[in-house]
């Protein structure tokens, strides 16, 4: 089976989600290639995707357009010529842009929010979760390829293949019509201190139970910092404007799988749990003993975050 992966780069690095897709592509396919739309260093991208099993890197220049949307026309043309069986995308911003436009160009359905994928000969089985992660559903396509599939980050582990750099093939950008009229005027990088939320070994998240926006820094951020971890949030406090969206964990936010996840004043709604219940260990502090978060916690403290957390921070500081 011929599998293509839509590769993405953020802050000069191929994203972990891309590497996860390449690892899966190797498992289900014999022939793995990557597509990269962007102005980054193609040789560096080729080395990274090669180390995870891609033998070829198709490079598309999106100019100052949105990479996924401009690339779709070119990918459609390539797919017409080279007939990949599957094209994998991350359930990301540019990934979904590319997937959406490509599905129209090829008139093929999309399978999104994937959490598992397996192949039996040429037959693919795609798995996703509904009702906030409570129910698992397996789906098969009943049309011919290419199968267009988006996978949630953290669904698979990324494992190197030890392969050489992928061979770079620069592809002429096909006319994408008015899609190319959406122009990027400026890019803003939001400074992030400490480890990335998706990659940290320890994640401390705060919810509405922390009481007020000004408590986030001394309770949640501070505890994360003493544990050299990253800090996250429930949607309730993102919607309330206490912290930026980039910190949201859950169905509509990030999926995290740290060694330890510490939930402070979070009730544990299914939409939050779906983003963190894959963590190795879960600690919860909540004053309501019936809070659903305790049903997934390895260690639950029924208590007030204002009492427990400052003492915890002091105790940890005393040890380091």
């Amino acid at each position: 089976m011929k599998v293509w992966v839509f590769a993405e780069v953020a802050l000069d690095k191929v994203t972990t989600a891309t590497l996860e897709l390449l690892t899966k592509a190797r498992e289900i396919g014999s022939d793995v290639e990557a597509i990269y739309a962007g102005a980054g260093d193609a040789a560096a991208v080729a080395a990274s995707v090669g180390a995870y099993g891609a033998t070829k890197l198709h490079v598309i220049d999106p100019g100052d357009g949105l990479p996924g949307q401009v690339a779709a026309a070119t990918i459609a043309q390539l797919a017409g010529e080279q007939s990949p069986d599957v094209i994998l995308f991350a359930q990301s911003y540019d990934g979904r842009d590319a997937l959406a436009r490509l599905s129209v160009k090829l008139d093929k359905p999309v399978l999104t929010n994937g959490m598992s994928l397996s192949a039996n000969g040429d037959a693919l089985t795609f798995g996703t979760a509904i009702f906030g992660g409570v129910t698992l559903v397996d789906v098969k396509l009943t049309t011919d390829g290419p199968a267009l599939i988006a996978i949630r980050p953290k669904s698979f582990a990324a494992e190197e293949s030890g392969g050489a750099a992928a061979a770079v093939a620069n592809v002429a950008t096909a006319d994408s019509g008015r899609a190319a009229e959406a122009k990027i005027l400026a890019q803003h990088v939001e400074e992030q201190q400490g480890p990335k939320l998706e990659e940290a070994a320890v994640v401390v998240s705060g919810g509405r139970g922390i009481g007020a926006a000004e408590n986030y820094e001394p309770l949640v951020e501070e505890l994360a910092k003493v544990l050299k971890g990253a800090w996250g949030a429930s949607r309730a406090i993102v919607d309330a404007g206490w912290v930026p969206y980039a910190l949201q964990v859950g169905q509509t936010g990030k999926t995290v799988k740290p060694k330890v996840y510490i939930a402070l004043g979070i009730s544990g709604a299914t939409q939050h749990l779906v983003g963190m219940k894959g963590s190795d260990n879960i600690v919860a502090v909540n004053k309501d003993g019936e809070a659903p978060i305790f049903s997934v916690a390895d260690l639950g403290i029924i208590g007030d975050v204002h009492k427990v957390v400052p003492v915890l921070i002091e105790a940890l500081k005393a040890k380091s």
Binding site: D97, L99, V104, D138, Q187, I301, K307, V308
Partner: protein
């Protein structure tokens, strides 16, 4: 300026979801306006207001002639709605939905801007807005957390992995907005009364020139082969904090060698 807003009507997310016999989400009960779309409706009302003229048209595809969610958005201030409701649409996937919405936008005519949410609360594929844009041949400014219109152009702040990009396009264009882009207003009593008499243009797939093979189960071209409960995580120990809560957490972290 005329703005169309795609609004999905969904089962109340506070009530646990169920599957119907054909394995699709059960949408038989009363549906409500997807909260994610209330941001698009508010944004549209504000943009039309700022432009000093024009109106907001709602576009929705929903089963059983459902209008409850549309009435909520009409009560907020939208002028009229197109509702696509047709048994042939059951089982529609993202692409079929986009085909319906794109045809509906063409039916509305004279639209400068289309707004949608980045992802719906019950389907959350997050592809429909860009699919609609591709079908219409329009630019799409996706995942926007800030939107403004000036000199016939739309300018947004689009979320990225690293922060956000400023992105601009000429009109007509489609923009998908994140939750929190604006604060949705509550419908006033007057608005609720007025909404009862606002026009809702009810149409079928055939009215839009789409044949049954392109939409619904036939259009989705996929089958559900297995449904099961996700394995539950085992709950561990739970302690009432008697002043030793912090100590217990420290001990737990030490045992994991995190400290």
């Amino acid at each position: 300026m005329n703005v169309a807003v795609c609004v999905k009507q969904i089962p109340d997310p506070a009530v646990p979801g169920t599957l119907s016999a054909d394995k699709t989400l059960d949408r038989a009960g009363k549906l409500i306006l997807d909260e994610s779309d209330s941001y698009g409706v508010e944004m549209a009302l504000q943009l039309v207001d700022a432009a000093g003229g024009g109106e907001v048209t709602l576009i929705s595809m929903a089963p059983n002639d459902e209008v409850s969610g549309l009435r909520t958005a009409l009560a907020m201030g939208a002028a009229k709605a197109i509702l696509v409701s047709d048994p042939a649409l059951a089982g529609s996937d993202a692409l079929s939905t986009a085909k319906i919405l794109a045809k509906s936008i063409e039916r509305a005519g004279d639209i400068d801007l289309v707004l949608a949410a980045t992802e719906s609360s019950d389907g959350y594929t997050g592809t429909v807005p860009a699919q609609v844009a591709e079908l219409l041949g329009w630019p799409a400014l996706t995942f926007s957390k800030h939107v403004e219109i000036a000199d016939g152009k739309v300018k947004v702040q689009r979320q990225t992995e690293a922060g956000y990009d400023e992105v601009e396009a000429s009109l007509p264009a489609i923009v998908s907005v994140t939750a929190g882009v604006v604060e949705p207003r509550y419908p006033s009593f007057k608005g609720i009364m007025a909404a009862k008499n606002k026009p809702v243009d009810k149409v079928t797939a055939a009215d839009l020139g789409l044949d049954a093979g392109q939409v619904g189960w036939a259009g989705a071209r996929q089958e559900i082969v297995n449904i099961e409960q996700a394995p539950a995580r085992q709950a561990g120990e739970k302690f009432e904090d008697d002043g030793t809560g912090a100590e217990k957490v420290v001990a737990f972290l030490e045992q994991l060698k995190v400290v």
